[in-house]
Amino acid sequence: MSATYGYTGKFLRVNLSTGEISTDDTAKYLDFIGGEGMAMKIMWDEVPAGTHPFAPENKIVFGTGPLCGSGVPCSGRTNITSLLPSNPYHAVSSSHMGGYFAVELKYAGWDLIVLEGKSPKPVWLRIEDGKVRLEDARWIWGKGIFDTMAMIGSQMGKEAQVAAIGQAGENQLNLAVIRTGSSHSAGGHGGVMGAKNLKAIAVRGTGSVKVAADRQALMDADKYMMSLIGANNQMVVPSSPLPWAEFHNPTSRWNAKPGLFWGAANPPVETGECDPRDMQSVGKRTFKAVFDLGAAAEKRTVRMGGCAHCPIRCHSQLKVDELAKYGMDTYVSNTCMGYFSPRGIMYKGIKAFDGYDAADAAVIGTALGAKLADDYGMWCNYGQIGRDVKFLYESGTFKRVLPAEEYASIPWDKLQAGDATFLIDFYDRVANKKGEIWHIADGAYWLAERWGLGKEYWDSKDVKLWSPLGFPVHHSNEAGAQVGALISCFMNRDAQNHSHMNFIGSKLPVEIQREIAGEIFGSPDALDVPNNYTRMNEYKARFVKWSLNRSRLHDSLTLCNWMWPMSVSPLKERNYRGDTGLEAKFYSLVTGIQKTEAELDRDSERVFTLFRALTVRSMGTVDMRNAHDQTVAWVTKQDAGKPQFTPGTIQMEQEDLELGRSMVYKAYGWDEKTGAPTKATLESLGLGEVAAELGAKGLLPA
């Protein structure tokens, strides 16, 4: 590939067993867009079914897309694809981390990094533009992530962007992350790097991303998008009534207002009125610290941080002096789940102590946990780990499965008393694989198997698992009825899908949203009034398909699916309409490859279908409906006594969900009975080879 725009045209292959480093051509994979799409194709072609995630034969692909580095709003994410250790079938999955790593990799001249094999001893990968080599990691192996990054920075220079694992990943925990920057975590694949003896990847790039379009055209598109962008999760309505706003919603993430400050800035920075026409206050709209952690976080907030080229800052960067008491660094950054998961482990709450009231104590304790988890590189299975702790303690399971001596040595009294120093002991035991308790990091499925957890675990609404595959709720039936519910059924971990949320959660009146849904999906019936659900219909199926496709698109371009698509806008003069054609517009401008919205959606459909084929191959069955796409029992039973589809309940109905599955299968051209991709559909997407292999294995539907 020469004279490439957007793409650099080349990607890196690293064989950790042999130490061989080579270059490959991105052009071969253009049909799969970039990032996640290209990674899925590489996984299909190169990693056989039955491979264990920790085996040298597994590959892990760090992916960027053509838009990373170009400055398009919210284009800083890295997509990481590999086999997923916490999944019962070790099926393929993607994780993502924000920050600046993807952009640096592009500036160094690389679209992707494909790693395979296992290094005989711990190494880190050093990339300085075109100069790539493996370095001895003896001096950083065993260290936490923060020190690891600093030590690498002292070698490579302060500008280097690092992706690293901590002790959790080194110890090949299923629930381990790969992390970059202050607080950006990709969940589930840390152990894969650990199994390969790869401690970190560090990049320094002095190059650039070329753009095909005339500069003014790109600047105009940026200006246009910035006029449509709202706040975090594309909420376009402020939390307080404000003179410029027609609507407000107290639960909105557009929670800036006069008199609300980043209190630990010097001097404090007022978030203020943030009129949507004021382009210089976009970064103040979302005060996530107060949104996530309450009013007590205001005085501790230095600023809001986030990812490269994103004007919406959703990482709360706090100054918590009290952490010095625990031997911790006093500056902590994270976004919602990074704080919520340690808070979830402290399931009885964090109690007032030492002159700090409960609200302050909660911020301190939560920050302590977030910093610990980020240093060890622990994953939480989207907050599941906290609910698991609660269940395991309250049901007496810990007492039953842990050796008596180990059980006695754990400071349960602190957990019960709401003393957050429990987390210091907890994370140390788990990340460092001490005793038996560390198996909580196997993930729900393997944990249930090992510790004999039955119906009380799986069928409990409080435990909040979604799938028999062991992953939890994440914008499921509480997010647009069957739309969220079905989206949650199709992935190999919690869906991490906000295509629907960034519309459903916009905080506009539901009638306006239903009008817009009508324009995008063909009928307002695609979107139910919250908590007043109706039966499944074909428009909801279209909404599901669109959402699944757009997530793949964003993870391939890469764009942040916690902001995109721009289905709505804050502008009254546009009737709050956004522009769902913006991904295609930027793709065309940056790469020079002209694609319409429909064409790019078709490419994403190819990516998603390939992902489905990969899952079929991993699971060795075509019966996806029953083996993969089901929910646990409480989903259809949660509000016993309230009939489904009446106001006040979000309970689903089994028959209705099965109809929904059939409709989504049909929308994708998959077999309506089993939900497996058909030969005809695969071939129509240019995936004939995939069809052939599946056919040879007896994995095509009849």
Binding site: W244, E246, P250, P258, H475, A479, P530, N531, G648
Partner: protein, 201 residues
């Protein structure tokens, strides 16, 4: 701005300035504001040797004459809401009608009506029950006492029979209109807003 601006122009200027500042403009305030603007204009004219001699301002403008001028000839952005003590004005150039309505309800100094009508609007528009906590914040800024008395009075008055209360499991309280939201729906929405949404980030 010329020195010989009419009463209408000066009134609109005052209304727009108030709206830009996030405030309504009561008719009762306009005569003084207009007089002030005329005096400044006259002072500027007197200080400027090149200015033409000012026309005599004549008798001070009355509220009645301002009201008449506005209702006859006000430009499209100037809007009016009629309160029990007279009209309030705002400019749509810098304030939405929705926000102006909140300010209007505050200005009317009838907390039960403010609470009930806000509850009805939110129950109808979004739909959602209205959070009592939000009524203590700007622009409503009711005191806890005022709110408690308003709720007590609402419970007594037949014209507010549709107004009901509910609470989330964390203690947050809400008020809604059962003309637009059934109790089951309102309760589940309250629970979602106060508890559910935070549990599903």
């Amino acid at each position: 701005m010329t020195d010989n601006q009419s009463t209408l122009e000066l009134s609109c200027g005052a209304i727009r300035a108030a709206s830009a500042d996030g405030r309504l403009c009561a008719l009762g305030d306009l005569p003084a504001l207009v007089a002030e603007a005329q005096a400044s204009a006259a002072a500027r004219a007197a200080a400027d040797p090149r200015a033409a001699p000012t026309k005599d301002a004549g008798a001070p403008t009355t509220a009645a004459s301002i009201e008449a001028a506005l209702s006859a000839d006000a430009p499209d952005d100037i809007k009016m809401m009629r309160g029990k003590d007279g009209p309030y004005y705002f400019s749509e150039l810098s304030m939405t009608a929705a926000y102006a309505k909140h300010l209007f309800r505050v200005a009317e100094k009838d907390p039960p009506r403010l609470v009930a009508e806000t509850a009805r609007d939110e129950s109808r528009i979004y739909p959602r029950p209205a959070s009592l906590g939000s009524l203590l914040e700007p622009p409503f800024s009711l005191s806890a006492d005022e709110l408690a008395r308003a709720l007590a009075e609402i419970a007594e008055r037949p014209e507010y029979a549709d107004i009901r209360r509910c609470a989330a499991s964390n203690g947050d309280e809400y008020v809604y209109s059962d003309a637009h939201l059934s109790p089951a729906h309102a309760e589940s929405l309250a629970e979602w807003a106060s508890v559910g949404e935070k549990d599903n980030p």
